[in-house]
C-alpha cells in the first residue's frame, strides 16, 4: 500500500503532462488496492487457522 502511495506522489513530480500523470496516479491506486487485497487475505487466513 505505501508503494502505491509513493507511485502516486512520484507521478506528480515526474510527469507534468496531465494524461501520463493521471495514468500513473491510477496505477498507484491499483497497487494500493492489490496491497489491501493481500492484507485482507492475510488476515482471513490467520483468522481461519485460529477459529474455534
Amino acid at each position: 500500500m505505501p508503494a502505491g502511495f509513493f507511485l502516486s506522489i512520484a507521478a506528480l513530480v515526474l510527469f507534468p503532462a496531465s494524461a501520463s500523470r493521471t495514468a500513473f496516479v491510477l496505477c498507484g491506486l491499483a497497487v494500493e488496492a492489490l496491497g489491501l487485497g493481500v492484507a485482507i487475505r492475510g488476515h482471513m487466513q490467520a483468522r481461519g487457522e485460529s477459529r474455534p
Binding site: 502511495f5 502516486s8 506528480l12 498507484g28
Partner: protein, 433 residues
C-alpha cells in the same frame, strides 16, 4: 484551505460559531448508533466508552495534537517543517504554540478552525469504538483514541486544512484548488473507518460470529430505537458540521449555505431510499439497521461534497451510497469475514471515499479530480498502514481484546460491574454452548 485565510465578517464568525455549538449532535448521533448496534450486555460500557473517548481525544489533542496540526499560526505561520523536493515545498507537519498558547489572541478564523478540529478529532476517534463493540476494552479504546488524537489526526488535519501539502496541490502542481474536504470526510470519516478496520483486524471477530462451519452468525444490534433516533440526531449535527466546514475551510459566502444544507439532506435521503429499495427487493422487507447505515453513509458522503456540488449531483452521490452500503456490508461479513458491528468501514470509510471522489468528479476546475485521487491514495496507502502499525504496537502493550470470560459475561459486568438494564433478564447466548 489555505494558510492565509481571508478575514471573516462578524456575521460569518457568529454563524460559524453557532453552527459549531450544534455540530456535537453528530457525535451524539454516532454514539447512539454505536450503542444500539452493540449487544445489551455491553450497552453501558459502549456509551461510557463514547464519552471517555471524546474526553481523551480532546485532552490529547490540546496537549499534543494541536501543536502538530498547526492551525494556530504563531510565529512559524503554522508550518513546522517544509521539505523541499523536486523544486516544490512539501509542508508535511505543522507547528503551533504548545498547549494552545495565544489562542485568545489568534485571528477569529484560526480560533474557529481549532474548535472545528477539536470536534473532528472527537468524532474520528469515536468511529473505531463502535466497530470493536462487545470485545474492545475501555482502556484500550481510550489509548487508541489518544494515538489518533496525538499523531495521525494532526498530521492529516495539517495536510488537508492547515496549508499542508495536500491542500497546496493546486498551487504547486496546478491541480484545481488542491485536495478539498470541507466537512471532514477524509480527516474524520475515512480516518475513522480505516482505524475501525485496523481495530477489527487486531481484536478479531466476536466469539461465535464466524463458526468453524457454516455461514456467519447474525448478531443484531440490541436497540433499533437508539439506532434510528441516532440517525435523526446525526442529521442536525451534520447540517451544522457541513455548513461550518463550508464557512471555515472554503470561505463560502452566506448565500451559498442553504444549497449546502439541501445537498446534505438530499444525499442522506437518496441513500436511505436506495437501501430501503435494495433490502426490500433482496429480503422482502426493509432492513432498519442497513437503512440507518445508509442514511449515515449518505451524510458522510455529503461531508466531502455538499458544499461543492449541485442538488442533482448530491442526489446521485447519495443514491450510489445507498446502493453500495447494503452490498458492501454483506460482502465484508460473508466474503471477507470482517466482524464490524457498527458498519464503520462501509459507512465512514467507503462513504467518505465516495464523497471525496464525487467532489473531484463534479468539480469545474481542471485537475480537481486528480487532487482528490491523490488524497484518496494518501488515505489508503499511507494513513491505513500508519494507523495499523500504531495500533499493532499499542496492542502489544495494552491488549485490545477483552479476555474470554469478559466477553462471555458481557462488557458491562466485566468492566463496569453493572449492566445498562439491570431489571432485564439477560438471555443465554446460544453461541457459547
Amino acid at each position: 484551505m489555505t494558510p492565509t485565510a481571508p478575514a471573516m465578517t462578524d456575521a460569518a464568525f457568529a454563524l460559524a460559531l453557532a453552527l459549531l455549538l450544534v455540530a456535537p449532535l453528530a457525535i451524539a448521533g454516532v454514539a447512539l448508533i454505536n450503542t444500539g448496534l452493540g449487544r445489551s450486555r455491553s450497552a453501558a460500557q459502549a456509551l461510557l466508552g463514547n464519552l471517555a473517548i471524546v474526553a481523551v481525544a480532546a485532552i490529547v489533542f490540546a496537549l499534543v495534537g494541536a501543536t502538530l496540526a498547526g492551525s494556530l499560526p504563531g510565529a512559524s505561520g503554522g508550518a513546522g517543517h517544509i521539505y523541499q523536493a523536486a523544486g516544490k515545498p512539501w509542508n508535511w507537519i505543522g507547528y503551533s504554540p504548545f498547549l494552545l498558547g495565544g489562542l485568545a489572541a489568534a485571528p477569529a478564523h484560526s480560533q474557529l478552525a481549532l474548535l472545528f478540529e477539536f470536534l473532528a478529532v472527537a468524532l474520528a476517534a469515536l468511529i473505531p469504538w463502535g466497530s470493536g463493540a462487545d470485545r474492545f476494552r475501555l482502556t484500550s479504546g481510550c489509548a487508541a483514541a489518544a494515538v489518533l488524537a496525538a499523531i495521525v489526526f494532526p498530521l492529516l488535519a495539517h495536510w488537508v486544512w492547515a496549508g499542508g501539502w495536500l491542500s497546496q496541490l493546486g498551487v504547486n502542481f496546478s491541480l484545481g484548488a488542491g485536495f478539498l474536504d470541507p466537512g471532514g470526510a477524509a480527516t474524520v470519516h475515512v480516518l475513522g473507518g480505516l482505524s475501525a478496520l485496523a481495530v477489527i483486524w487486531i481484536a478479531g471477530p466476536r466469539k461465535g460470529k464466524f463458526p468453524k462451519e457454516g455461514l456467519a452468525t447474525a448478531l443484531p444490534g440490541h436497540n433499533a430505537v437508539y439506532i434510528l433516533f441516532g440517525c435523526i440526531v446525526s442529521l442536525v449535527g451534520w447540517l451544522a458540521w457541513n455548513l461550518a466546514g463550508a464557512l471555515i475551510w472554503l470561505h463560502a459566502p452566506l448565500a451559498a449555505l442553504p444549497v449546502t444544507a439541501v445537498n446534505t439532506l438530499l444525499s442522506a435521503s437518496a441513500a436511505l431510499a436506495a437501501t430501503f429499495a435494495v433490502t426490500r427487493i433482496r429480503f422482502g422487507k426493509p432492513d432498519a439497521s442497513l437503512c440507518a447505515n445508509a442514511w449515515l453513509a449518505g451524510l458522510v458522503a455529503s461531508s466531502a461534497c455538499a458544499a461543492l456540488v449541485t442538488p442533482g449531483q448530491s442526489l446521485a452521490v447519495g443514491f450510489i451510497a445507498g446502493i453500495v452500503t447494503p452490498l458492501l456490508v454483506e460482502v465484508l461479513e460473508l466474503a471477507v469475514s470482517i466482524d464490524d458491528p457498527s458498519g464503520a468501514i462501509t459507512v465512514h470509510a467507503a462513504g467518505g471515499l465516495l464523497g471525496l471522489f464525487a467532489a473531484g468528479l463534479f468539480a469545474s476546475q481542471p485537475g480537481q479530480l486528480l487532487a482528490q485521487l491523490i488524497g484518496i491514495a494518501t488515505l489508503l496507502g499511507l494513513v491505513l498502514p500508519l494507523v495499523y502499525l500504531l495500533f499493532w504496537l499499542l496492542n502489544r502493550v495494552l491488549a485490545f481484546r477483552v479476555d474470554p470470560d469478559g466477553e462471555r459475561i458481557g462488557m458491562d459486568l466485566h468492566e463496569l460491574g453493572g449492566g445498562a438494564y439491570p431489571e432485564f433478564v439477560i438471555h443465554r447466548d446460544e453461541s457459547y454452548r
